[in-house]
Symmetry: C2
Subunit: 330 residues, 2 copies
Amino acid sequence: MTDSIPGSIARVRPAVDEAIRAAVKELDSHLALIASYQMGWCEADGSPTAQSGKGIRPTLVALSGEAVGATVEQVASAAAAVELVHNFSLLHDDVMDDDLERRHRPTGWAVFGKSQAILAGSAMLTAAIGLLSDQRAVRCLLEATQRLIAGQSADLRLEVAAHPQLSECLEMEAGKTAALLACSTSIGALTGGGSPETVAALELFGHEVGMAFQLVDDVLGITGAAEVTGKSSSDIRSGKRSAPVVAALNAGGAESRALAHALARGVPEDEDEVAARTELVIAAGGVSWTVAEADRRLQAALHQLEGADIAPGPRVELRALAEYVVHRTS
Amino acid sequence: MTDSIPGSIARVRPAVDEAIRAAVKELDSHLALIASYQMGWCEADGSPTAQSGKGIRPTLVALSGEAVGATVEQVASAAAAVELVHNFSLLHDDVMDDDLERRHRPTGWAVFGKSQAILAGSAMLTAAIGLLSDQRAVRCLLEATQRLIAGQSADLRLEVAAHPQLSECLEMEAGKTAALLACSTSIGALTGGGSPETVAALELFGHEVGMAFQLVDDVLGITGAAEVTGKSSSDIRSGKRSAPVVAALNAGGAESRALAHALARGVPEDEDEVAARTELVIAAGGVSWTVAEADRRLQAALHQLEGADIAPGPRVELRALAEYVVHRTS
């Protein structure tokens, strides 16, 4: 099932983009070019284009702000800050993972070199914090950033783990993805003036949506074709210990053991081996477990949303966004 | 001439170290290990050692706080934040420059790998900002960090510049080094409760000391032996367009033209070529110009210090620190 892109994403984009563009304009001109390229606003030579990311995080910030009675404009800086942190992490992760393609284009480092990409990412992180004036919002973003960084660190260490546990994998994914989505909803509600109870409920909603988001990403990393996801490599090819792989490894049975043997040989040597390992992950039940877990997380998110004391319009839009995240195909 | 290490450095270290250690302890355990190694507190296996950096920046923060009547403890968080940002930049710069050695030890990435070093650096930057509670201090540190990042970006771009200008080089050095030293003195005075005039005077003092510091570093990068500086490579070997090189290139005359020809061939192929280029930089007057400029900056710094309305004890110690920075040999 494929849901169409929720209307809220396009509705909040102009205000958020304006805030990000203002922040990027303050950067050193070469780093601003790299940041603009990373944001999908321009080509490598600076000529304008429009190939932005989905914008799920800033939309979560904006809807969470609206959910507690604020306008999109009132929380646009916080939304921009979260999106900048997200793009800082993408830019750096692509360097670390040696990924050549993202969103159907060469990655930032592939165009501008690794050193300049690292610098531009750090500049985006620094600029993100500069967008915030509320001390609680700063703290929220800094904590999420630390969890994001720790999650990526754990992800790389898990790649060489002999016996990765599902709990380790899910904790890594909580850091890598769910932390910034939980920050998106809580910083939106916080900046929008919500009560501590509502901030907490929306934070949990964001966390569960984030887990579902990453689990769906993991499934697409196994089964999705590059022409749809816009990423050049499958998680099997790069040796990632994503949830489907770890679930398959811990499932027991012949396919599970065969997969463990294959992974012990290191990254796949050719496309046949990629295909064979992909089949083993599926046959051992890794993909079906992950799909079910993503749905369980979605239900937990929607349960939080139902219990939250928020405005009805944003509640409907937050639900639509959460469902889109789980049912997307790229 | 070699000045002995100013006593203020050892005096402020315990309070600053305590604040940094508390912040590092909050990091993911693997990233905390890398940060601790980078800070010089432990070996790669976590066993304790003591090989810290000089600690010039946190000492500038502490003395600037004392200069306006605060205690070291009152500005220790700000000092720790500045030192963390400095070490974030060292960790990342060593990755970008492929440097293998710093402070007589393998660099962070050489021990823990580039990806984990990048992550630990970002975690240190994020932790630094979390140490500050005053919004003005946050802004001061964020701005200095942006200038630091832009300076490193310019440094790397200058390496491949055909005709680097001295003004470009000095602007790059202002970002790469002087910005964080100017932030050290201004954040100390700011956090210590100094008047806007005193904050401004100490900021200018820090800026000039920072320029002198970098210019002396540049001279040591040409003439200093690795066993003294603790760095594995001379700036000639790596192709850096540091001030002595750019001054020599812009000096005119036979040696200047010979140097331009040599640099146009790319990085030196062997140690003979390193020695030959080093001789050309010296013969063209690049080193003597830089030594003189460093001293001019020191005098400008001391002039600012004389004019500032600050306590006499810290004034004497700030002067001693500035003179140490310019007269050090490593």
